[in-house]
């Protein structure tokens, strides 16, 4: 019976997945299974029965045309063997952890700077301007040492991870084809990973929500600048952990989805995402430039950050509209 299931899967592997297709596949499978059972009851051997069921199947193109399902060019993409897919999945998983670590180190670097700075100079941590002023003083050169070490470590980790993952970048750009058995393997992994994925994302979101709250609580109750700095460090650490979770779980799930070409990575969505990506690559750098200009010129770091959430929401709205328009 697996032979029959694989036969069907192969016929449908290049067809998009939707409710109609799924129902059809199920009906066809039920049909073939019943026929197989009856042939076995009549005394045919397993191979004979399977052969008869398959040979009486007919021409799939006729059926697909009737259903109005477009059958795209089969196997135009790069074919990946089981070993190659396993290699891809394990390495993406491994190096995404390093990326998360790299980000963590960078945020840790900033935390160290803030803590050491506050501890040594007793500066008002909320006023960034005095940090830059104080940096010219020798005694505040000390916190720069751990800062630079951690920063270097973080950047180094990011660079190494980036290099190691470079050879897998093709999966983002090219069409990729995998065999049915590989597909099954990937699907099983994705299913079993689903729970961890949800847990990671939820934990990350919770951490991001709690982080600024912790900062406010600590800053309010500590009174001292050191306490405030520790508050900032805690907040940054929590955010770093959240980012680590987002990166690792996000990358793993994304790899599975890309391989299976579902959801975001189905051919239809890919076209739509191109437009959104192009707009994103313009909007976000511009936003950063405006943010930096406003902050440096107006020295309004404590206000200007609000630019990011605003742009984030507007951009999200744009992406949503693009999605709706594209569907029409």
């Amino acid at each position: 019976m697996d032979t029959i299931k694989n036969y069907l899967e192969n016929l449908f592997c290049t067809v998009g997945v939707n409710e109609e297709v799924l129902r059809l596949k199920q009906d066809l499978y039920n049909n073939m299974e019943e026929k197989y059972m009856e042939l076995k009851r009549e005394g045919h051997s397993e191979n004979e029965a399977i052969g008869m069921v398959i040979s009486n199947f007919g021409n799939i193109d006729e059926l697909l045309k009737e259903l109005g399902i477009e059958k795209p060019e089969p196997k135009t993409g790069r074919f990946l063997s089981q070993t190659e897919v396993e290699d891809l999945v394990y390495n993406q998983k491994r190096w995404s952890k390093f990326i998360g670590l790299g980000v963590f180190l960078i945020l840790a670097a900033v935390s160290t700077l803030v803590i050491c700075g506050a501890a040594l100079e007793g500066i008002d941590f909320a006023n960034m301007k005095s940090i830059t002023e104080n940096m010219v003083e020798l005694s505040s050169a000390l916190p720069l040492i751990p800062f630079f070490i951690l920063l270097a470590a973080g950047v180094g980790t990011l660079i190494i991870s980036g290099l190691m993952l470079e050879k897998y970048e093709f999966i983002e750009k090219e069409e990729v084809d995998i065999s049915t058995s590989t597909r099954n393997w990937v699907e099983k992994r994705k299913e079993s990973y689903q729970l961890s994925y949800v847990v990671s994302i939820v934990s990350g979101v919770v951490l991001c929500l709690l982080a600024p709250m912790i900062l406010i609580v600590v800053a309010t109750f500590s009174g001292s600048d050191l306490g405030g700095a520790i508050g900032v460090a805690t907040m940054l650490t929590m955010i770093a952990v959240a980012v680590y979770l987002f990166i690792t779980s996000g990358m793993e799930m994304e790899t599975y989805k890309r391989l299976l070409k579902v959801g975001e990575y189905s051919p239809e969505r890919k076209a739509e995402n191109k437009l959104v990506s192009i707009v994103a690559s313009i909007v976000w750098p511009v936003t950063v430039v405006i943010f930096l200009a406003w902050s440096f010129i107006g020295n309004d770091w404590h206000i200007s950050w609000i630019l990011f959430p605003i742009v984030g929401i507007l951009f999200g709205a744009f992406a949503g509209v693009a999605d709706i328009v594209q569907k029409k």
Binding site: R23, L24, Q26, D27, L28, N30, N31, M32, E34, K35, E38, N56, F57, G58, N59, I60, E62, L63, E66, L67
Partner: protein
């Protein structure tokens, strides 16, 4: 074995005939066709399901879910009033077709 080209116009009619008797599902219909024609016509799966799709789109039949064997839902079909009318038309069409073609068939060969 009848060639599918010849019988193409009447696949729908065969299915509708069976559904006139009682609602049924894919495999049962295909089996009945085989038995009724005494193995002279065995409808391929793709032909059968293309017909289901076509008939349903034209609203000659409607689908519903039947009993669950091993937790899988089975798609059943039943004929609609529109389908009954279409069936009658096809029967009449066949009578005319038969009369016409018979005129060109040599009985004594």
């Amino acid at each position: 074995m009848i060639s599918s080209d010849v019988i193409r116009g009447y696949n729908d009619t065969m299915i509708l005939y069976l559904l006139l008797q009682e609602p049924s599902y894919g495999y049962e219909i295909s089996k009945n066709i085989r038995e009724l024609t005494q193995d002279q016509y065995i409808m391929k799966e793709t032909t059968l399901y293309s017909a289901f799709s076509r008939l349903e789109k034209n609203q000659y039949i409607e689908s519903f879910y039947g009993d669950e064997t091993n937790g899988k839902r089975r798609t059943y079909y039943r004929i609609t009033p529109l389908g009954r009318d279409y069936y009658k038309e096809k029967c009449e069409e066949w009578f005319v077709t038969k009369e016409v073609v018979d005129k060109f068939i040599e009985e004594s060969l």
